[in-house]
Amino acid sequence: MLSMLQAAPPPNPGTWAGSEPPPGVIARILGAVWDAMVTTTPADYVFSAFAILAIVAAIATVTRKNPVVAAVCLVASFFCVAICYVMLSATFLAALQVLVYAGAMMVLFVFVVMVLDVDDKGAADQPRTRSSRRGLYYGFAAVVIGILTWIFWGTVTRQFSTTGREVPSDFGTAQSVGRELFGPALFAFEAVSLLLLAAVIGAVVVARSRRERLKEALALGFSEDDMHIAGLGAADTEVARGDLTDEQVRRPHPAMDFGQPSAGGHEGGN
């Protein structure tokens, strides 16, 4: 799309040699867009479509109030991106994307959202940031996004050729990526496996239920302070410490302890 931009031979600056006036910058941008439209192939269209779809889905996940809807939109976004991968001849990764991201992780998200019955009520009582600060934050956001676009645009307009190199037919397939994976990147592969193991163990340990943590704390002989730090403090002491409002103690949220029946009506075991 940008080839046209580079094609025009530059007349020496300052002198107006050609018959028509030297093209200005804006004229040149419009020219590029027109050129892109003219030379795009059907594949470009498909790709653009799915790209736009992915972006819309992403915006949706970020703006939806209800986390469940957000999760679903995110899954949609992942699917569109997977399709883009296929267009970029990264078929194995497209499959992987779908399997891991959309399949496993989003399921986990939805699962957690459902189990914890998370609702955004809690957020409501937080006052929206005062308007004076909002201006500041928007300013920050504008600065940050401005810098990023400046950098993006600077690189894109400068260094980029449009088409990739000739690639072998099996480029991006499971076989070639596998050979690459178990060849030079073997060590990294093993390291990642270790990482995943650590993550799993971490997740299990962190998300232990209150009853198990209480049993373990008593076994280790925690002092009263240690119990407080571990979040296992007895109700009265927590209130005394001012960490929990008595309202929270009286009406523990269902997730407070899996053992008790959830306030929302359905029995325990969440």
């Binding site: 940008l2 931009l5 025009a8 530059p10 910058v25 941008i29 600065v143 940050v144 600077g154 400068r158």
Partner: protein, 783 residues
């Protein structure tokens, strides 16, 4: 013995060390009596040895300086080394003391006529005083320490006199200062005496400050501080480096600068006008100490130095004038103070200051020989006076106030006679030594060339005469109040205590004899029998002072003449003083002496009289001023010591504590903690604020990296094909050489053409004194 001269100072030194280390132990082991015996035997033995050694060296015919020859042949004129004959000198180079670079200082002793004379005085009078001290200090428990310090003093004084270079003299100079500090503050339990000792040492130190500067100037000009080297460079007035204008300092010639500094040292040591304040307070020490140090030997060190460097001082007419003026003024000023003092030792102290003033008057006039003559005679009669006063004080049970004495002649006949003889001598009554030496000084004061103008001659002479009058007055006032009239003290002391000690009288008698007949060493030309008894001292010191007398023109010494060389009324054609002139001068000074004596006799012949009191009232202000010693001490304290102490307080509390410590050190610590607190507020625990900070930080870093043209301007600019890309910091189209950001010129320095290869010749500007190498550094150095 291989080292001939080293033994002279070494023996008293060893005596001192022995007494210091073992005196106490012997006293403890063998009991006080034997301890005392051992102490003073060792001390007196050491001094006796060096005295014997000095006299033998001086007197030996061939080897010595021909004095013994005098006694054998009896004919004085033939054997005294005439002007042509070079004087004998013994040089003993012991070892190289400081050798560094081109500075070479040897521990070298020199015995020639001048130092021979001084050694004889020092060891002679010293020995007598050592003997006197045995009696005086009999019942003092610091006995061995006293004799140790006295021996140490003798050693330092001998090194001072025998030293062949100015550095060695300076060693003796400070050693003597230390000993006077120790001896003045001998009874240190009394705070006042200790303070007096400290005052003496510090005032001497101020003088030493001058000597050090003088030494530095001389060293830089002459290249060595050896007396022969200095004499060599002063030999010919025409091309001496001391007077060359290249070596001038602060506008005066090097000779003048050096001599002025040295003279500052002499005023410190010989108690002249600015720095004399320590001598009256030095009377706090035991009386024999005052006799030895503050009458005979130490205080004459200043005069010795001037006479030793006479060729240098002669080259500095300005300094000679200042010396003469200060000498004259001091003589008169101190004499006036002495008149109204009531403490026997204070009177003698101010009398010493006055007599020293006389000597410096002589030095100022270039009459080196008469100065040394007066040094000798003064040593005799002043030592006798001090020892006499010591005997009197001992007799009056350590009471020094003459108003409570009187009538001592009945019980202390020997002391009275010796005291009377010395008083006559110092007053300048004819047959005695004082008359000859003082008269000679007054004669030369009037007769010799003076550096400025005849005015200085008249001023010097008149001041000398007035001082002579006062001297006669206060000496005989002292004599009459002490010895004449009747005992005014308490009767108990009179019955039991007032008596004479045998051992103390012996030195008194010897000194009195010397004071009486000492004058004949410098027998004046005019008196009859001159051919049989020439002016021995003149001939004796001739080799030492030959160079300075040979100077002509601006630095001329000796009898002054009209501008065209015609003789004045007192001199004949070949510039010798006529007999008539000498007689007139003698007459005037004798008359003045008798007037003084008469006055004292009238007022005090039998104790303090009503006329004295009435005169005192009539001269109220003058009397009070003189009694209060013109309040010089108070003035010094108010003008110098007080402000200096306050300045030090301000420096310590102000500069050190506040400016450097509080502002500097604690200030820096303070700012660091303030900054720390400022940053702490940011971390209030909100996760989202941290995230925002994180993102901001990341983008700023990314952005700054992207500013680097090497990252962003890579490859062709798709939008503006004419943009050549690559590194080109632009300012007015000319690349800026940012490496020289400290440029001083208006516009930034442009990157120079590739730095000139080292092979090129150094900067053309190197020949003429160019601007120092470019850049603020060199320019920063003040040119």
């Amino acid at each position: 013995m291989e080292h001939t001269l080293l033994w002279i100072p070494l023996f008293p030194l060893m005596g001192a060390i022995f007494n210091l280390l073992f005196g106490g132990l012997i006293k403890r082991w063998a009991g006080p009596r034997i301890g005392k015996e051992v102490a003073h035997l060792v001390a007196i033995g050491a001094v006796a040895f060096s005295c014997f050694f000095v006299f033998s060296l001086v007197m030996q015919p061939g080897h010595g300086l021909g004095f013994m020859h005098l006694l054998q042949t009896g004919n004085l004129r033939e054997i005294i080394p005439g002007p042509g004959r070079s004087g004998h000198r013994i040089v003993d180079q012991v070892y190289p003391w400081i050798v560094s670079g081109d500075t070479i200082v040897y521990f070298e002793l020199l015995l020639d006529n001048l130092s021979g004379l001084m050694c004889m005085i020092i060891t002679g009078v010293g020995l007598l005083i050592h003997i006197f001290s045995v009696g005086y200090m009999a019942n003092d428990e610091g006995y061995h320490r006293y004799f140790a310090y006295l021996n140490l003093f003798m050693a330092s004084m001998l090194i001072l006199v025998l030293g062949k270079s100015l550095v060695l003299t300076f060693v003796g100079w400070e050693g003597v200062g230390l000993c006077s500090y120790l001896l003045i503050g001998f009874w240190f339990t009394d705070e006042a005496k200790a303070t007096a000792g400290r005052k003496a040492f510090i005032t001497n130190r101020i003088g030493d400050f001058g000597v050090i500067l003088g030494m530095l100037i001389l060293f830089s000009v002459v290249g060595s501080l050896d007396y022969d080297a200095i004499r060599g460079s002063c030999a010919s007035v025409a091309d001496t480096p001391l007077l060359a204008d290249e070596t001038a300092i602060f506008g005066v010639s090097a000779a003048t600068a050096a001599t002025l500094c040295l003279f500052l040292g002499c005023t410190g040591k010989s108690a002249q006008i600015p720095l004399y304040v320590w001598l009256p307070d030095a009377m706090a020490g035991p009386t024999p100490v005052s006799a030895l140090i503050h009458a005979a030997t130490m205080v004459t060190a200043g005069i010795y130095l001037c006479v030793r460097l006479n060729f240098l001082f002669a080259l500095a007419p300005l300094t000679m004038a200042i010396i003469a003026l200060i000498g004259g003024v001091t003589a008169f000023f101190a004499a006036t103070i002495a008149i109204t003092q009531n403490d026997i030792k204070k009177v003698l102290a101010y009398s010493t200051v006055s007599q020293l003033g006389y000597m410096f008057l002589a030095v100022g006039m270039g009459a080196w020989t008469s100065a040394m003559f007066h040094v000798m005679t003064h040593a005799f009669f002043k030592a006798c006076l001090f020892l006499g006063s010591g005997a009197v004080i001992e007799a009056c049970h350590h009471n020094q106030d003459i108003r409570t004495m009187g009538g001592l002649r009945k019980k202390m006949p020997v002391t009275r006679i010796t005291f009377l003889l010395s008083c006559l001598a110092i007053a300048g009554i004819p047959p005695l030594s004082g008359f000859f030496s003082k008269d000679e000084i007054l004669l030369h004061a009037y007769v010799d060339w003076s550096a400025w103008s005849p005015g200085l001659n008249y001023a010097g002479y008149l001041l000398g005469l007035a001082a002579a009058l006062c001297t006669a007055m206060y000496m005989f006032r002292l004599y009459f109040l002490a010895f004449a009239g009747s005992w005014r003290g308490d009767s108990h002391t009179w019955e039991h205590h007032v008596k004479e000690h045998g051992i103390m009288s012996l030195p008194l008698v010897i000194l009195a004899v010397l004071a009486t007949f000492g004058g004949f060493l410098g027998y004046p030309h005019a008196l009859p029998g001159h051919d049989k008894l020439p002016h021995m001292l003149d001939a004796w010191l001739e080799p030492v002072t030959s160079i300075s007398r040979a100077f002509t023109g601006e630095y001329q010494l000796g009898v002054r003449t009209q501008l065209d060389g015609a003789p004045l009324w007192f001199a004949d054609a070949d510039r010798h003083i006529t007999a008539a002139a000498e007689f007139t001068f003698m007459g005037v000074s004798v008359a003045v002496a008798f007037v003084g004596l008469g006055l004292a006799y009238a007022l005090y012949r039998n104790g303090p009289s009503s006329q004295a009191a009435s005169w005192a009232k009539r001269l109220g202000l003058l009397h009070a001023l003189s009694r209060g010693k013109y309040f010089v001490d108070e003035i010094y304290k108010a003008l110098i010591l007080g402000p200096l102490y306050r300045l030090s307080q301000v420096l310590w509390l102000g500069v050190d504590q506040t400016i450097i410590d509080d502002l500097g050190v604690r200030g820096v610590a303070g700012t660091v903690s303030v900054i720390g607190n400022g940053v702490r507020i940011w971390h209030n625990g909100s996760l989202r604020r941290y995230l925002v900070m994180l993102v901001l930080g990341a983008t700023v870093v990314l952005g700054s990296v992207y500013c680097n043209p090497r990252v962003s301007q890579v490859g062709p600019n798709v939008l503006n094909p004419t943009d050549p890309g690559g590194l080109r910091p632009q300012q007015g189209g000319v690349p800026v050489d940012w490496s020289r950001w400290w440029y001083r010129d208006a516009d930034p320095p442009t990157a120079k053409a590739p730095a000139r290869s080292a092979a090129q010749a150094p900067r053309p500007g190197v020949q003429a004194p160019p601007v120092a190498p470019a850049g603020p550094a060199a320019r920063g150095g003040v040119r």
